[in-house]
């Protein structure tokens, strides 16, 4: 089973233009900042939003094709959509909520109730069958919403920011439970999130969506180690530089250059771990390493590592211990020299 969505549509200021392909039995996360078009993509797949141009197909069933004019109404698409707010019907009992999809597809009331009850037991909500959704906690209501779509045996499962409506204290446990429930579903699993941690823990593969465009795709470890956009680099806590490698140097966009140790040639990206950057009050003499003169733009104390934001030929973030920060008398506007070894710069083709 696969889901293929080629989508081009304009929504307000957002121009969504992406091509996404998801195989069944792997969880894929669409990761991106707010307003990147992640929810819009899910709504298009579910049929809640028409596209200007494109094609959505799940397992050979054409949901929508702007070329042939084919279009399936949302109720005719076998897609399970778990909304960010979970979308439980407040006027129905938890059991009737879970049975809703079965009843809508014509299942007998008794049979539907029995099946719904089974699923409520599976997500450990059996004792809430007769309660109203308002009696459920965030995590419970999410499980109810999940049971409500899984009971209908959809071809594809779409989850919009699955943990956003749950308070932080319950997330760890909920992430574990959600991962478990996701693994029992063998169809297409597509979730969207702005939280890299969520993508890393729930998904096998991530698709990075920024301003309506896919900027990167792959396993999370790969994407976060070798980011291709400033946003994903920041999420991964890395400094990202863009330039052209020739020989032992990378020439950056601002005209400055750094010594690197790489086989890559031509347009390339380079990342530097913040902790690989050493800071000095005075420029070290005769060092073979890269020395960049910077001013301190900001100091963010974070536990035993302080993040120092630097302004220079290009912006950098360095991490130092509080003791080192005190010794260097780091303050906003002060001058420092950032020093990086060539071997600490990871270079990969653009």
């Amino acid at each position: 089973m696969t889901l293929q969505a080629r989508v081009q549509t304009q929504l307000g200021t957002l121009h969504l233009n992406c091509d996404v392909s998801v195989d069944s039995n792997v969880t894929v996360a669409v990761l991106g900042p707010n307003g990147a078009g992640k929810t819009t993509l899910l709504r298009v797949i579910a049929g809640l939003l028409p596209v200007a141009e494109g094609r959505v197909e799940v397992d050979g069933v054409v949901f929508e094709d702007s070329e042939s004019g084919a279009w399936l109404a949302p109720e005719a698409r076998r897609v399970g959509f778990v909304f960010q707010d979970h979308g439980l019907f407040p006027h129905l009992s938890v059991l009737d909520n879970v049975a809703f999809g079965l009843r809508a597809r014509g299942m007998d009331r008794k049979v539907a109730a029995t099946k719904a009850h089974e699923w409520l037991e599976r997500v450990d909500l059996g004792r809430y069958a007769d309660s109203r959704p308002s009696a459920l906690s965030g995590g419970q209501s999410q499980r109810a919403a999940l049971a409500r779509v899984l009971v209908t045996d959809p071809q594809a499962l779409l989850l919009d920011e699955p943990l956003a409506a749950v308070d932080a204290s319950g997330r760890l446990e909920l992430r574990r439970a959600l991962r478990e429930h996701l693994s029992t579903f063998s169809g297409v699993r597509l979730l969207v999130t702005h939280d890299p941690l969520e993508a890393a823990s729930l998904a096998d593969r991530v698709i990075v969506l920024e301003e309506g465009h896919v900027t990167q795709e792959g396993p999370f470890s790969e994407v976060s180690a070798r980011p291709r956009s400033a946003w994903i680099a920041r999420m991964a806590g890395l400094n990202l530089l863009r330039g052209v490698v020739s020989g032992e140097a990378i020439l950056l966009e601002d005209g400055s250059s750094l010594t690197v140790a790489t086989d890559v040639a031509g347009p390339a990206l380079a990342t530097i771990q913040p902790r690989a950057i050493a800071l000095y009050r005075q420029a070290p003499e005769g060092s073979p390493r890269n020395v960049v003169r910077c001013t301190v733009a900001g100091v963010d104390p974070e536990g035993d590592r302080w993040r120092i934001r630097l302004d220079g030929p290009f912006p950098l973030v360095a991490e130092v211990t509080p003791a080192a920060a005190a010794e260097l008398r780091l303050a906003e506007g002060g001058e420092v020299f950032a020093v990086v070894k060539a071997t600490e710069i990871d270079v990969y083709p653009e």
């Binding site: 579910a46 809640l48 109404a73 959509f81 979308g87 006027h91 809508a104 779509v149």
Partner: protein
Amino acid sequence: MTRGVTRRPLIGLVIPAAVAVLFIALPLIGLLAHVDWSNLPSELVSTDVLTALRLSLECSAIAVVIALVIGVPLAYLLARTSLPGRRVFRGLVTLPLVLPPVVGGIALQTAFGTTTPIGTVLHHFGIVLPFSTAGAAIAEAFVGFPFLVITVEAGLRQRDDHLEEVAATLGARPWRRFWQVTMPLAAPSIAAGAALCWARALGEFGATITFAGSFPGTTETLPIAAYSSFEGSGQVGEAITLSLLLLAISILVLVVLRDRWLGALR
């Protein structure tokens, strides 16, 4: 929200405000003062009063049913669709709110009177609206249904169609979404709108007397009976009894809707 600055009211505002309260309260006190409490039970169950009450309940109930059947769909279309000319329709619906009821009665007469095209067609099927119980109900519906439409529309607007979308992704077709999601969620506003419509229909006078006249047992509803006994036969006592009955019903409606209406203002 009483802030420190406004905690001490301006004396200049207290006096007109007190006048306003008296302005409402005095007529009610006057009414209560003139009730002949000892004869009240027997007057309440007199045939005249009971006939008018039964007729009023009948007509206003029919009016509410008419308003529900045609008003809820209209409210839904106004609230949830981008129907062309929506603003014009909304204005048209609210017109009976400000239109003098007598004008409404005359307008109904010109549309459904026995000599009009519609009246002729209806007559063909043995239906005569003017000066009939059905006509009284129609007049009451005309004046009362804007209350229902406005209340239900506001209720539907309070919520977007997100839960209908949820229902669609769960496989529910449009009619199922309407009956299983939209209507149950709008039920409180439909109930409130129906109660307001009913109260307005129950007190309807001008349009009813113009379109349906005042025939005891056929079109002489409570307010019309109160007016006739007050003006015509000089039976002030019966007029007061009927007025008291209407006042009691009004208070009942107010109590039932208290949380919904006064709660929204709090």
